[in-house]
Subunit: 84 residues, 2 copies
């Protein structure tokens, strides 16, 4: 079931984080090394099984060379698109 | 000591969340009621003593009538300004 418009959408977060990593040509392992986050945590985030902390968003955004606000705008777009 | 440019800046997060709440004419108690977050958690966030989850950012953004990405852009601006 899709979340309502504006609700936190774990699937959209997961897909956006994964796509941003792939766009930056990083493996999960490499992203973990660069960000300092645990590889298991990154895997959980990309499967929508864990909610990222805002600090994790900052660390990941830096590694994929996006502003945190840009990463969130992509999550919003992904969430809107998946409900369309 | 200020964080380096682009680092997660707990002070900037705290100040931005507090200002967004005040701009929306909400007390911490009212924001807690509307968001479903615990009043103590909101107090900790506004003092930079706890790192918000991305889901908390979503819930707070809705209550203060901002997009989550807009809230993050304000945090980035606040962080840049405090280092200037």
């Amino acid at each position: 079931m899709s979340p309502n418009s504006g609700d936190y959408d774990a699937g959209a977060v997961a897909r956006t984080l994964r796509q941003a990593r792939l766009d930056a040509h990083l493996t999960q392992e490499r992203l973990a090394q660069q960000s300092g986050l645990h590889p298991t945590y990154i895997s959980l985030l990309e499967r929508g099984r864990s909610v990222p902390s805002l600090r994790a968003i900052w660390l990941i955004a830096r590694c994929v060379k996006l502003r945190p606000s840009t990463l969130l705008a992509r999550i919003e777009q992904e969430s809107d698109a998946s409900r369309a």
